[in-house]
């Protein structure tokens, strides 16, 4: 609970001068080049304004000069922590325009890598959140497991960060031999580690003190600001595009069993396995956002397991990527997918040539970061990293 929103509150009688502070773009805790202009009265933050644009690379404009297949690497660099999901979003929207169905095996392969990358992204979010709160160790624990995922991806596509693996029409190559066993083994290793994460952070008393009741984002405000993903679900809004999205996207998950991670009647779908929600936590606070991500890791593990089986059972190939000179029928297409950070939408207008006439990306982090000034108003200075960290933003996606 921020101090100046406290109903008992009090004017601090000491007349201190308000101070303008630039938090970022070079600051240890702002997750990239976000610049927050804070107006503080002592430790109390009276206002916070996020300034963005330090990482703008004209990706959308470049997209108007490249074939869809060529633009895939640019999507890698949007949410570079979840490139697979970015690739997937772009590939799906192009396929939607072309009405191009991917074979069954390809479908499961896409689910497989997308969910693995979701795990990786959430692990980074968790680790860096620990850093934001002054706890260094969980960061390395998280990165240790993430490295294993990156190893898996490296085996798949040769890249560790910018995969460009899922392309319109299919993937760049099928899985190598033995990959499925490696992946299954990784999941087995990850399983017990998740408990460690919960012990280190989720149920840590200081962590709860720092996050519970801090930066409360009411569900209504979250909706009004267009927040999506774990930020939205952390506020108790039951929305997950993997279930609620367009059929073109949700058909990807046909036959998969998963429950949307959102608090209903005081409980999360899987919270019986993990630390209970602390009494101090308010729905929509930093703790809940964090917890939703932690549970989504487990959820994604489950989906990956299912995908492994389905992929192994499916016959045929994984689809053929479209050619560079593939003519795009005139028209437009828009599709939103559930990326780890929220709803990632790609928009495409074509004029019949092989190169899109207009390309646009709808960033989830852009909407998520916009609540910063609401959440930070009246909190303490130390809460600012806690709040910004809990939103889990990636500037590459915001600035594009």
């Amino acid at each position: 609970m921020s101090i100046i929103n406290d109903p008992r509150v009090v004017e601090f009688n000491i007349r201190t001068d308000e101070m303008l502070i630039n938090m970022g773009p070079q600051h240890p805790s702002t997750h990239g080049v976000l610049r927050l202009v804070l107006r503080t009265d002592g430790e109390v933050v009276l206002g916070a304004a996020p300034h963005i644009g330090y990482l703008h690379r004209c990706a959308e404009k470049i997209g108007e000069n490249l074939a869809p297949r060529q633009w895939v690497p640019y999507t890698d660099r949007m949410d570079y922590l979840a490139s697979m999901n970015m690739n997937l979003g772009w590939a799906l929207v192009v396929e939607k325009l072309l009405q191009l169905e991917v074979p069954e095996k390809g479908r499961h392969l896409r689910v497989l890598v997308a969910e693995l990358n979701r795990i990786a992204s959430h692990l980074v979010a968790m680790g860096t959140y620990g850093l934001d709160l002054g706890s260094f160790t969980p960061f390395l624990y998280a990165f240790r497991e993430r490295e294993k995922i990156l190893d898996l991806f490296e085996q798949v596509c040769g890249a560790r960060l910018t995969y460009s693996y899922i392309v319109p029409g299919g993937v760049t190559g099928d899985l190598p031999q033995g990959w499925l066993q490696n992946c299954a083994q990784f999941l087995q290793e990850l399983e017990p580690v998740v408990d460690d994460y919960h012990a280190l952070l989720t149920s840590n008393a200081i962590f709860i003190k720092r996050t519970a009741g801090v930066g409360v984002l009411p569900g209504e405000m979250a909706v009004n600001y267009g927040c999506t993903g774990p930020v939205l679900r952390g506020s108790g809004i039951d929305q997950d595009l993997r279930r609620d999205g367009e059929p073109w996207y949700t058909s990807l998950y046909d036959g998969y069993q998963f429950a949307v991670i959102v608090q209903k009647e005081g409980h999360y779908p899987q919270d019986h396995d993990y630390p209970a929600v602390p009494a101090e936590a308010v729905l929509g606070d930093c703790w809940h956002r964090f917890y939703v991500r932690m549970l989504e890791v487990v959820q994604s593990m489950d989906i990956v397991r299912q995908a492994l089986d389905k992929y192994a059972a499916a016959a045929g190939d994984c689809g053929t990527p479209i050619k560079l000179n593939h003519k795009l029928p005139p028209g437009e297409a828009y599709l939103e997918t559930e990326a780890p950070k929220g709803q990632m939408g790609f928009y495409l207008v074509t004029d019949g040539s092989a190169i899109p006439w207009r390309v646009r990306a709808r960033s989830s982090c852009f909407a998520n970061v916009s609540v910063t000034s609401e959440l930070c108003r009246g909190c303490l200075l130390a809460d600012v990293p806690a709040i910004v960290g809990s939103l889990d933003i990636v500037l590459g996606e915001i600035d594009r």
Partner: protein
Amino acid sequence: MTIWAATDWYAFFFLLFALLACGFAAAVLFTSNIVRMAFYLTLSLGATAGLFFLAGAEFVGVMQLMIYVGGTLVLLVFGVMLTARAPFLSLRPRSGEWIVSLIAGGTLLFLLIASAFGVRNWRTASDSGPLPLAEAQTATAVGAGLTGVRVDRLNRDAAGHALSQLPHTDSGYLLPFVIVSVHLLVVLVGAAYLARAKVRRRSATESTASVEG
């Protein structure tokens, strides 16, 4: 070697600490930067603590370090930070005031120094020989004095007459000690009250407009 032999270490340290104390006191007087003033004051008070050690008042010296330097000055610096508008604030007095002050102060200093050396008893050294340990280590005696037993008076009486002659009403510094304790408590409460946070009158949202600017 002769230099070493001739050195009066007591005088040396006395001079060292005295010069530090007086010098930094003067620095406090002549600097106009409030934070530096606080810094110099720290050194001056620390040197005074050294003088106390030299004079055999260990407990007072440590107390000086603890309360004055550690507590009071930090408090002062805190106040400086809270009240300084520009980073390094200085409010300079008019030079006429300086002149008047220096004249008055100089006269006073002259008078005080004159009287310091004016009394024969004060300017002649004691020749009572080595001190008994009990009188050199005073921390316990001070503690006992604060809790109601004047050990030094007991000792003095012990040389001559029966100890029971000590008046039963003598409670040392117990009463002032208690009074000061209560006083300190009251003062702390009062200070906290004076500088407390009060009920809000303006809303928090009112003053958030200028972040963009």
